[in-house]
């Protein structure tokens, strides 16, 4: 994975894992790689990898069971709500960009529909 060195690396790796979870690429209850594995897989510092799980845990998308490792939450409502948050954020970012270009949400919506045809 290529990182943007100006943004926290833990955040970029956490976003990648979140995407995997909300798109179902990683299933509810699935075991996630251990901290060291995560560090090697993403080629990041092990302390950064540990931070990824600390922060991901705060979102409720994963849980660490002592001596067992870190797992994707089994609570599918948490995953569904994270997915909604992501979608809303993506739309918001898009509309912000369109606003910079002088488009309103209504005109942006019309353009999307036209693209669809």
């Amino acid at each position: 994975m290529e990182f943007d060195a100006n943004r926290p690396i833990w955040l970029q790796v956490m976003n990648a894992l979140e995407t995997d979870i909300i798109t179902g690429r990683r299933k509810p209850g699935e075991k996630l790689p251990g901290g060291r594995d995560l560090a090697l897989r993403f080629e990041i510092n092990p302390n950064t990898a540990a931070r990824v799980y600390q922060e991901l845990e705060k979102t409720g998308l994963c849980e660490t069971r002592r001596g067992m490792g870190t797992f994707v939450t089994g609570d599918e409502t948490v995953i569904a709500s994270a997915r909604n948050d992501f979608i809303r954020q993506t739309v918001k970012n898009f509309l912000q960009r369109m606003a910079q270009l002088g488009e309103t949400p209504q005109s942006a919506a019309r353009m999307i529909l036209r693209e669809e045809e």
Partner: protein
């Protein structure tokens, strides 16, 4: 684990390292940064016990560095230091004789990881292969501290990936790694702290993820801020 106390080194009238005080703790990978001649190599040699300070000292676990501490500190210098008649195997045997913590098995694993074989003659190695050999033989020691001076120099992109992976696989909670390089980008993700040295003085010793989180600044940006010339 390593503590630099006001350490100073003068060569004639030139001060290469100027009252550097800092603590380096285990469980971290430090990037040591600064332009050529800023004192990085001299500091590493002081910490490795290969140079005597003019003033101050570097301590390893509370004791000034000495012959004793060299058993626990693995240092890779930039200069080539193998005899030309040696094969890769000879280099391993040579290290095995010198260092109690050297593991030949681990050396073999590292050679494989670096795509080197025992029968190669050091004389015939390309600069990239030589750089990989130096790293393999240094990391084959089970030391507490690894100091690698310019591990990425003269190495192509793919070999750099191998070296990064290798360095990370030995970065555990019990070890301290210190890497110096001009190739700042190579170290952004693998280092968690950076030590900036300028004209022999310590500028700062910072946590990289905190810096990115709080200031949106990468290690390379900070490097430019510290050493860059303002263009007029």
């Amino acid at each position: 684990m390593l503590e630099s106390k006001e350490v100073t080194k003068q060569f004639g009238s030139k001060t290469a390292v100027d009252h550097i005080s800092m603590k380096l703790e285990k469980g971290h990978v430090y990037a040591m940064l600064g332009p050529n001649g800023s004192g990085k190599t001299t500091w590493m040699k002081l910490a490795a016990g290969l140079l005597k300070p003019t003033y101050g000292m570097v301590c390893f676990n509370g004791e000034p560095v000495s012959i004793e501490s060299r058993k626990h500190v693995a240092y890779m210098s930039t200069e080539p230091y193998f005899y030309t008649w040696m094969t890769v195997k000879d280099v391993g045997k040579y290290y095995q004789d010198f260092f109690e913590d050297f593991s030949y098995d681990r050396y073999l694993t590292l050679l494989k990881q670096m795509e080197l074989t025992e029968n190669l003659r050091t004389k015939a190695l390309s600069s990239g292969m030589m750089a990989k050999l130096k790293i393999a033989v240094t990391m084959a020691r089970d030391a507490d501290v690894y100091m690698l001076d310019e591990p990425f120099n003269g190495i192509d992109l793919l070999a750099r990936d191998e070296i990064r992976a290798c360095i990370l696989s030995y970065a555990t909670e019990e070890k301290l790694l210190l890497l110096s390089s001009h190739l700042v980008e190579e170290m952004e993700a693998i280092a968690d702290r950076a030590v900036f040295i300028k004209e022999g003085k310590l500028i700062e010793n910072v946590d990289l993820e905190d810096m990115r989180t709080q200031q949106g600044v990468s290690m390379a940006d900070r490097y430019r801020q510290i050493y860059g010339h303002t263009e007029g």
